[in-house]
């Protein structure tokens, strides 16, 4: 072969050569080039792209930019399309996002530093390079917004609508493999002093989100993550550093982490104190709610799906618990009269989404599908009526409230109609 003329194989590999070869190309080469636009081939070769036949997207208020006034900060939420999910990992590109009115900052990782100071013997700054030299861990963890599945608040109407999909009802949870350094290692490196009982973690976003976290949790299993699902953490997830606080409300997982101040009491961040406490009927507010309870949801079939005909279907869904590992998921295909154990798919990890499956033959009659999970502390996911009882209220409250009903981990019913349509049946 003429060494000056690249062979066809090399031609296919090297997208950069594609443009230069257009003149002398063979028929085969021409037809290949015609099939896929060059810039797309370039992207496919360099970092991959999903098929353009796949239309699964995050949804949220960002899809209505025309409602936005010039300069108006819009707090938007983008939900994960759980109805299309498989396995237990969420692609980083589809991980849910809550933004309190700010776009992600554009941070140069070479200039970024993490400052650790306060009640420590050796206040220090760490570069990304420093962190990557330290012993690393990789762990699967879900992150869930405290308002996920809330019947009130911004997403409430869709969440309770019969037309609600599992993206509308449960889309503010996602699961990734996070890689980074344990926070306990960094705090030991800095040397905790007596009286160090809390940390304040701060982000580099425009309002410098600050979150107070008890030192016990910081030393237990918190993680300073620089990678998500095998690639650098995405900008809207906190590039280049995110604090991952497993099993605790999403707000604790500070993005664009730039500072950890070790202190002796909680500091009152605006967001954590004014938006996140749960109002009780007597007007008092429960502040600093952290751990998310055991929760599961069937993702297929789920709201908006249509079963084409009676016959066999695999029922599949996700279960997770902020308290630990999912031990058991039960599924009912008769509205809760009887329950069967579902299979749990590996990997089954602590404070992580766990995929469950169970075979089902639909007889074509109307029915309701439910799932409930149990974690390794023996804690069982409640029904909505049980949540209402614990909160000292009734189901009517969930219909009427304008508030975010935080940490709502109630069992999710999906009604299957005779025409095969599947509807949200929370009420």
């Amino acid at each position: 072969m003429d060494p000056k003329k690249p062979g066809r194989r090399q031609f296919l590999r090297n997208s950069a050569a594609l443009a230069g070869l257009a003149v002398g190309a063979t028929t085969v080469e021409k037809s290949i080039a015609a099939e896929v636009p060059e810039e797309r081939v370039d992207a496919l070769h360099k970092h991959g792209e999903r098929s353009h036949f796949v239309d699964s997207i995050r949804r949220g208020s960002i899809n209505n930019p025309e409602r936005r006034l010039p300069g108006e900060p819009v707090a938007f939420g983008l939900t994960t399309p759980l109805q299309d999910s498989a396995g237990m990992v969420t692609p980083a590109s589809l991980h849910y996002v809550i933004s309190h009115g700010y776009e992600p900052p554009d941070i140069n990782p070479r200039e970024h530093r993490l400052l650790i100071h306060g009640l420590v013997d050796r206040p220090m700054t760490l570069s990304l390079g420093d962190l990557m030299r330290l012993p690393s861990v990789s762990r699967f963890h879900f992150i869930e917004c405290h308002g996920n599945s809330s019947t009130g608040g911004p997403g409430g109407a869709l969440r309770v609508s019969p037309e609600g999909t599992v993206q509308d009802t449960h889309g503010y949870t996602s699961c990734s493999q996070w890689t980074g350094v344990t926070l306990s290692l960094l705090l030991e490196q800095a040397g905790l002093q007596k009286g160090a009982t809390w940390i304040v973690a701060e982000g580099a976003d425009d309002y410098k989100h600050a979150k107070s976290i008890p030192i016990g949790k910081a030393l237990d299993d918190a993680l300073v993550a620089y990678a998500q699902n095998g690639e650098p953490v995405r900008p809207e997830q906190g590039f280049p550093l995110r604090l991952v606080v497993p099993g605790w409300q999403g707000i604790n997982n500070v993005k664009w982490l730039q500072r950890i101040n070790v202190v002796d009491e909680p500091y009152m961040g605006m967001m954590e104190i004014t938006r996140y406490p749960r109002l009780l009927p007597d007007g008092k507010s429960r502040w600093f709610e952290f751990e998310l309870g055991p929760k599961s949801v069937i993702t297929r079939p789920s709201g908006g799906h249509r079963l084409p005909a009676p016959g066999f279907y695999e029922i599949t869904g996700l279960a997770w618990s902020g308290g630990g590992t999912i031990r058991r998921v039960e599924v009912s295909s008769d509205g809760g009269q009887s329950w069967k154990d579902a299979q749990l798919q590996d990997p089954i990890a602590r404070k992580s989404h766990t995929r469950f499956t169970i075979p089902w033959n639909w007889d074509g009659e109307e029915t309701t599908l439910l799932s409930r999970c149990t974690d390794d502390n023996g804690v069982i996911q409640p029904s909505l009526a049980e949540v209402a009882k614990i909160w000292g209220t009734d189901i009517d409250f969930f219909k009427k409230t304008t508030l975010i009903t935080s940490d709502l981990n109630a069992i999710q019913p999906w009604r299957v109609n005779r025409d095969g349509s599947v509807k949200n049946a929370i009420f």
Binding site: D206, M268, P277, G283, N409
Partner: protein, 196 residues
């Protein structure tokens, strides 16, 4: 040579004495010591009782002019809220609304600490120009907003000592009230992952 070795040993001795409280770091050559100056310039934390508040002072009277110049465009002339910025003044019955189905979680009615107002203005305001207000200006704007919420008088001067003493109407509206009780989440009678 000998002198420099002695010096090095002396420095090492001082260093180890300073770090006597906790074991030396396990991983060598990682990170850089943060200087006092560096910490001072980056540490914007303010505790609920006012730890971290810098010197300076301001009153509502001074704050009115700064508010008109830098805040009004978004929040409205009387901090009543505009098209872009939220209302910073609570309605008169806002605190009572907290027991209803439509509670008003606004600054005057809900925020438990006056120091939070200072902290948030200082770290995040004005939007897109955060960090440009001098401490005196932050004290003055904080005073203006608290005055508009009928919490302090127009002539009251706020500084690192007086600001933490300002009593917010919802100061006792949060449970558990004692900070020490907060981390013991499991003692709150939670069952089935639901806390009462």
């Amino acid at each position: 040579m000998r002198f420099s070795k002695l010096l090095a040993a002396g420095v090492a001795l001082i260093a180890s004495a300073a770090a006597a409280q906790t074991p030396m770091p396990a991983y060598k050559g990682i990170g850089a010591p943060a200087t006092k100056q560096q910490i001072q310039s980056e540490d914007i934390s303010v505790s609920p009782e006012g730890k971290g508040l810098p010197p300076g002072s301001g009153s509502a009277k001074e704050g009115a002019a700064i508010f008109a110049e830098k805040c009004m465009v978004c929040h409205g002339p009387n901090a009543e809220g505009g098209k872009i910025g939220p209302a910073l003044v609570s309605s008169k019955d806002a605190h009572e609304s907290l027991t209803t189905m439509k509670p008003e979680r606004s600054l005057g009615a809900y925020w438990p600490y006056a120091t939070m107002v200072w902290d948030y203005i200082h770290r995040a305001m004005p939007r897109d120009k955060a960090g440009t207000l001098a401490p005196n200006e932050v004290y003055a704007v904080t005073a203006f907003i608290l005055y508009k919420n009928r919490i302090i008088q127009e002539t009251d001067v706020l500084d690192a000592k007086t600001l933490p003493k300002v009593q917010m109407p919802n100061r006792n509206g949060f449970v558990p009230a004692r900070f020490a009780d907060i981390p013991d989440e499991h003692k709150r009678g939670c069952t089935q992952g639901v806390c009462p």
